[in-house]
């Protein structure tokens, strides 16, 4: 038998038992619309790719990281100084986390501005928002794990803010911290969140998200006459382009890791005073700075409470975008949704910037 015959016989054998050809048939029929905004389609894939990078580098780091107060910092230092290419894996993991969240935000906003959340894709939007929340949770929990001064105090501030939520606040803070203060229990907990709970939830939701995307296909922005609408096959055409983009992202990650290695910092000392200018990572900076601006008491309400309620309201508006963004007759509320989207972007960018310089 020739090699080709062996190959096709094996594939047939497998298909009879697993039905793998079902997946390839699906893939064969998947098309991607080609228009001026096609480039935005890449960001979902970039986010997925970066999640893959995080998973891969995270599993590698787990070979050496020790999640106890006594050893966490030293194990990270061990990775950075003694393990071969440990500096590379760790720096990629830290940089990729930031790029991942950035990419997720870009993906979300591009979906918002092309109104891809409209019927029948509301559930895709909702699952995506939850995924964004999970990514922020990854960022927050992972940040504590090196157990250095900045991460310790940033976690302290962050859980303090969570504690000011009405009703559930103190319980939430206690749950997050594993006690009254940030300490060994917090580290253990955050490790569990970061390595088990959040990944399981993420896998489940990505599965849902991707299935919905396959089922509903890619959205074409309205306003393009059908005659002008071209399509590209997903496999292999769009996918090969995606590979190029992913390679490019890898090059960026490698450059960042080699030119700007992630710092070790100083081992956390709970009894020292917080370092001056302590602030959370950039993706929480806008909210952090907003809370700083709000006076401690506005009329009879506590400032922080008002801030959190404000964020909650804004978040609720944004999450429910598919539902109020479209009129009953199916027409989109173009100006309103675009306005809200632009406001949100401007607010986030401005306040993140201000949080940095102030």
């Amino acid at each position: 038998m020739s090699i080709t015959e062996i190959k096709s016989k094996t594939l047939d054998w497998l298909d009879e038992r697993t039905g793998w050809r079902m997946a390839t048939d699906l893939l064969d029929h998947k098309v991607v619309p080609q228009h001026a905004g096609t480039a935005w389609y890449y960001f979902g894939g970039i986010t997925l790719f970066l999640i893959g990078v995080q998973l891969f580098t995270g599993v590698l780091l787990l070979l050496y990281y020790r999640p106890t107060v006594a050893e966490a910092f030293d194990s990270v230092r061990f990775i950075m100084t003694r393990v071969e290419f440990g500096w590379l894996i760790r720096s990629i993991h830290s940089w990729s986390a930031n790029l991942l969240i950035l990419s997720a935000f870009i993906h979300m906003f591009s979906v918002a501005f092309t109104r891809s959340y409209q019927r029948p894709r509301e559930l895709t939007w909702l699952s995506g928002i939850v995924l964004l929340g999970l990514m922020l949770g990854f960022g927050f929990s992972g940040y504590l794990l090196p157990w250095n001064m900045i991460s310790y105090f940033a976690t302290k501030v962050g859980t303090d803010v969570a504690g000011t939520m009405p009703v559930a606040g103190p319980t939430l803070a206690r749950f997050l911290r594993g006690g009254e203060d940030v300490g060994a229990a917090t580290l253990t907990r955050f490790f569990d969140f970061h390595v088990m709970i959040l990944p399981l939830l993420t896998f489940a939701l990505i599965g849902v998200h991707l299935l919905l995307v396959q089922k509903n296909g890619m959205h074409t922005p309205s306003g393009i006459p059908p005659s002008k609408l071209a399509h590209m096959k997903f496999f292999p055409n769009f996918f090969l382009r995606e590979l190029m983009v992913w390679y490019g992202v890898l090059a960026v990650l490698g450059t960042l890791a080699a030119m700007f290695p992630w710092e070790l910092g100083e081992k956390a000392d709970p009894f020292a005073s917080a370092p001056a200018g302590i602030r959370p990572e950039w993706y929480f900076l806008a909210q952090f700075y907003t809370l700083k601006l709000i006076p401690s008491h506005v009329w009879i309400f506590e400032g922080e409470l008002l801030g959190l309620l404000g964020f909650g309201a804004l978040a609720a508006v944004w999450v429910l975008l598919p539902f109020w963004g479209t009129r009953a007759n199916g027409e989109p509320r173009t100006r309103l949704t675009a306005g809200v989207g632009i406001f949100l972007i401007c607010y986030l960018i401005t306040f993140t910037y201000l949080g940095y310089v102030k």
Partner: protein, 417 residues
């Protein structure tokens, strides 16, 4: 109607042991800011429940001035300057009395004072010298540990200088008046004022406080040695001890380091135009050569350590992890300190040993820094290689795409691959 009654209550309550007639009259008579009755609010004696009459005598319960300030009631009035120390000592030298308020307080201040230059001159009739109230103030006497007390460690030098920097006052005794100015330039003052190290010495630490007298020539090194123990031990075993002792000897440590203007020492004291050694040792003599040699070693070690630190800092700026080497550098610095200490035995061999050890550390840490920089270069090279390879891969994929899409369109047409 109620207001005066309430006021009376407060007034009554203000006096722990009932109304104090001294205070009642003198508050009305005195200057509201500087009078004794105003100052006394901050006094440590009042805080312990004592009052005017406990020092000045008299009867505080009697409103009639003649009765309350009568000699029969033990009224002493304002003591003459020459009688002030004895006045204070009437309580402060009485152990039974002092035990009631501050059992651990010393009771020998007057005894010490009588041995001091101030005490001796006062006894000889000179009322211009310092008595208790000149340093401790009067009526608003604060505890020594009170940061506003004139005898708090931070203020002692200032208090002494009130007289000792006064040219007119000191002219009569032919005492120089530059000590405070010189002391302000010293490392001890820097430690006190800038670092807040209250253990750092000021006037009283070396001269004594109540028994104030400049240390004799023989005792200078012992006085410095109360803190700088090892320096004194080495100096005592060295040839300089005998030379700097005795009349015209110069007075121990202060020959090289000065008494009040004690500055941060450096190898410039050993060799060069401002060397203190050249004050006695001729250029080219064996001791002068030894001094130059030791200075060279010490400077060499200092330079080597600084160079290693610079390389490590550079590597750190590039993001390399060099904390272990930086910690090892501390050992090198300790060797440098040891070499400067051993200088005081005036034996070159004693200096050579720690310098050698320190140079080994400098070499080791410098190498670690160089290794880190080389690793950084290796990483960047690796990065460049992978970026190039990624570029090739991207081109390859682009080529593949072109090939696929030139065969038919890349659109809905089924691919036969």
């Amino acid at each position: 109607m109620r207001a005066p009654v309430i006021l009376l209550f407060f007034a009554a309550g203000a006096f722990a042991a009932g109304p104090d007639s001294c205070m009642t009259c003198h508050t009305a008579m005195d200057d509201a800011a500087t009078g004794p009755s105003a100052l006394i609010k901050n006094d440590v004696h009042i805080a312990h429940g004592l009052s005017c009459a406990d020092c000045h005598g008299g009867d505080r319960t009697n409103d009639d001035p003649d009765a309350s300030m009568s000699k029969a009631k033990g009224f002493k009035g304002k003591p003459a300057r020459s009688a002030i120390p004895k006045f204070c000592a009437s309580c402060h030298s009485n152990p039974d009395y002092m035990r009631r308020y501050a059992p651990r307080e010393r009771v020998d201040q007057f005894e010490l004072y009588q041995t001091s230059v101030h005490g001796k001159r006062l006894a000889a009739g000179d009322a211009n010298v310092a008595t208790c109230i000149d340093c401790h103030s009067v009526h608003d006497i604060r505890a020594v540990k009170d940061s506003m007390s004139p005898v708090h460690p931070l203020h002692v030098a200032e208090t002494c200088s009130r007289c000792h920097s006064d040219k007119q006052k000191m002219a009569a005794y032919k005492i120089p008046t530059n000590q405070f100015e010189e002391y302000r330039t010293s490392v001890h003052w820097q430690a006190l004022s800038k670092r807040g190290d209250l253990s750092a010495p000021s006037c009283a630490s070396c001269h004594g406080n109540h028994g104030a007298k400049p240390p004799e020539v023989e005792s200078v090194s012992a006085v410095c040695g109360t803190c700088h123990v090892l320096f004194e031990q080495l100096y005592t075993k060295s040839v300089h001890k005998a030379v700097f002792s005795g009349e015209g000897g110069g007075g121990g440590c202060i020959v090289c380091h000065s008494n009040h203007a004690i500055h941060q020492p450096s190898t410039a004291m050993l060799t060069g135009p401002n060397a203190v050694c050249s004050g006695c040792h001729e250029a080219g003599s064996k001791p002068a050569e030894a001094a130059t040699q030791m200075a060279g070693w010490i400077d060499g070690l200092d330079g080597a350590l600084q160079q290693s630190e610079a390389v490590l800092t550079k590597a750190e700026k590039y993001g390399m992890e060099v904390s272990e080497a930086q910690v090892r550098l501390i050992d090198g610095r300790e060797d440098l300190v040891k070499s400067r200490l051993n200088l005081h035995s005036m034996q070159t061999e004693d200096v050579r040993k720690p310098v050698e050890a320190g140079m080994a550390v400098a070499k080791e840490t410098g190498k670690a820094g160089e290794d880190a920089l080389r690793e950084k270069d290796f990483r960047r090279l690796g990065l460049a290689v992978s970026v190039v390879l990624i570029g090739i891969a991207i081109l390859a994929i682009r080529g593949l795409i072109r090939r696929i899409e030139s065969n038919g369109d890349g659109g809905a047409a089924a691919a036969h691959e």
